[in-house]
């Protein structure tokens, strides 16, 4: 598998119109990629065919027509010259005003088109089917500019190059918009569908807005799904992702997942290999406010599920928080300096210190159990 093909560069390569280093890359790729070699043969045939187009001589008599027209034009110029002086001033003013109006409209229209064309964008490659950018089908490659939507139907997939910091694969039935791209922030909006992101930039440069939370990259790879009702599922395969709203944040490490729901924001993260009853109970607690479900969550928690319990601390009432603390402390005792009172009182430095201490337990392998639970619950 190649990360990149050069199918759109093949004519320029054949014509010697590429920079030397780019031509060398294409040559090396052609040596290794049978698909691009086949395409290159096709392009070369097209070039040979085009080169066989014969030039055609202009018919006789054209010059005479031009000369006659030039003579007519000269006569008209001579006749118009004195008439111009007799135009009524008011009519001239009206003509001038009309001309100015048209000119302003043209300049404004041209400026709008120019600015639209200058908007920054990311390269989009078609993977299969017929993805659309701004409602237009792209061929092998296209450009997604700020404000434009990329849409895939049930048979289409695409890949987006995220500036120079990563890439996003867009699955079928997905609608995604480029919101912003600048040095300090690159942001997509996922309205529905599925994307896989691989980001190799420093944390908090790449964001994905969804209807129920924002996924902030913390140096990672992840899959984000949004259904037709705006509910989401984040599954992290490496590094960390933060799922955020103004009121709530969930830190999701590799092997873990997190559901989101409009109005509620991100739920509590959990490891994907957690037992289904644990995940179902957590979903009821998060999104149905079923306090009785806390029992099942506490009972089913393993050492690595301290990820879930730590996130629950600020999300439950004081009485329940004490129960969460007890279970959490039983699974992984708090480090020195972190007290029961401090944790029940939601002392931020203490919570962070305990989290740092717990993170060693949060290395887990993913299983598809969560996917089944999520689909059973929401689909």
């Amino acid at each position: 598998m190649f990360a990149r093909h050069y199918k759109k560069h093949l004519s320029a390569y054949a014509h010697g119109a590429l920079a030397p280093e780019e031509a060398a890359r294409v040559a090396a790729h052609l040596a290794a990629c049978a698909a691009c070699r086949a395409e290159f043969e096709e392009v070369k045939l097209g070039i040979r065919l085009a080169e066989s187009l014969p030039s055609v001589a202009a018919p006789a008599g054209l010059w005479e027509g031009i000369e006659a027209a030039l003579a007519r034009e000269s006569n008209r110029e001579r006749e118009r010259a004195p008439q111009a002086k007799t135009l009524f001033p008011s009519r001239r003013r009206a003509l001038t005003a009309a001309f100015a109006t048209v000119l302003v409209a043209l300049v404004a229209g041209g400026a709008w088109l120019y600015l639209r064309a200058q908007r920054p964008g990311w390269e989009v490659a078609r993977v299969e089917g017929a993805p659309r950018v701004a409602s237009s089908r792209i061929d092998e490659r296209g450009r997604l500019r700020v404000g434009e939507w990329l849409e895939t139907d049930s048979a289409s997939r695409a890949e987006i190059a995220v500036a120079n910091i990563g890439e996003v694969e867009v699955e079928p039935n997905t609608r995604v918009r480029l919101v912003e791209t600048r040095l300090t922030e690159h942001r997509l909006e996922l309205e529905r569908g599925t994307l896989h992101a691989r980001i190799w930039a420093p944390p908090r440069l790449f964001f994905v807005n969804t209807p129920s939370a924002v996924a902030a990259d913390l140096g990672c790879a992840y899959t984000l799904e949004v259904d037709d009702k705006g509910r989401g599922l984040l599954h992290v395969t490496s590094g960390y992702v933060a799922l955020e709203t103004e009121a709530r944040e969930s830190i999701v490490p590799a092997g873990a997942a997190c559901m989101t729901e409009p109005g509620a924001g991100p739920g509590t993260p959990f490891f994907e290999d957690a037992p289904e009853p644990f995940v179902e109970a957590l979903a009821r607690l998060d999104f149905e406010h079923d306090r009785a479900s806390l029992d099942a969550v506490l009972a089913g928690a393993r050492v690595k599920d301290t990820l879930t319990l730590w996130h629950l601390l600020p999300r439950v009432g004081v009485e329940e928080r004490a129960r969460v603390y007890e279970r959490l402390a039983a699974l992984a005792p708090p480090p020195d300096g972190v007290t029961r009172e401090g944790v029940i009182g939601l002392d931020r430095p203490m919570l962070d210190a305990w989290k740092t201490n717990l993170e060693g337990n949060w290395l887990g392998e993913s299983t598809p159990a969560i996917r089944r639970v999520w689909r059973n619950l929401w689909r």
């Binding site: 014509h15 097209g46 065919l49 055609v56």
Partner: protein, 199 residues
């Protein structure tokens, strides 16, 4: 008005343009003779072999050229200026005629009259005839870049300059044009090789 004394191709070109700016009809004629076949070829292929339209557009190109030549400051290559004018007029004319004539599959190219003997031999070539039809069936935006590339032998940069496109867009359109020709005329690969072998 005296005709210009010409020395060397480049100096001759500049001198002819300068003379045209002074209203020298002989210089106009000289400029016309130098460029008419290529302008006509572009227009003819752009309009799918419609000789009347190609003649009309060619005349319009040179009329506009002569009436505006004083505006030519030399900051752009003359050929760039000329072919920008040509392609713009082709596109304008096409818009006017769209309701009357559609491009596309099955459109037959009539045989051009000029240089009859040469054209008859070319028309006999299955490849040339098929390529004409296939080029006529290309989308106009692909057809224009192909014509500028293969009639004017323009570089990607020059085509980009004439059409106001990026070099990447030109490369992409040429790529699509080449592939469209190859897919439509793949069965001619053998005939093309035979022609190439026979010189």
């Amino acid at each position: 008005m005296e005709s210009v004394v010409l020395t060397g191709e480049e100096a001759r070109g500049e001198a002819v343009i300068e003379a045209c700016k002074q209203g020298d009809r002989d210089a106009f004629r000289r400029l016309f003779e130098r460029h008419k076949d290529r302008v006509y070829s572009v227009a003819l292929y752009f309009f799918g072999g419609d000789e009347a339209t190609a003649s009309d557009v060619t005349q319009q190109v040179f009329l506009k050229l002569f009436t505006r030549i004083r505006q030519f400051q030399g900051e752009a290559e003359f050929t760039t200026w000329l072919y920008r004018l040509t392609t713009n007029l082709c596109v304008d004319e096409q818009r006017k005629r769209r309701r009357v004539q559609q491009f596309g599959e099955g459109f037959e190219l009539s045989e051009p009259r000029g240089r009859r003997a040469q054209e008859e031999s070319l028309a006999r070539s299955e490849v040339a005839h098929s390529v004409k039809r296939a080029v006529a069936a290309l989308k106009p935006k692909l057809r224009v870049v192909m014509l500028l590339k293969y009639f004017e032998e323009m570089s990607y940069e020059e085509i980009a300059d004439v059409l106001g496109l990026s070099k990447g867009t030109v490369a992409s359109r040429l790529n699509r044009g080449h592939k469209a020709l190859a897919r439509k005329l793949g069965h001619l690969r053998g005939a093309l090789l035979r022609e190439e072998r026979e010189g």
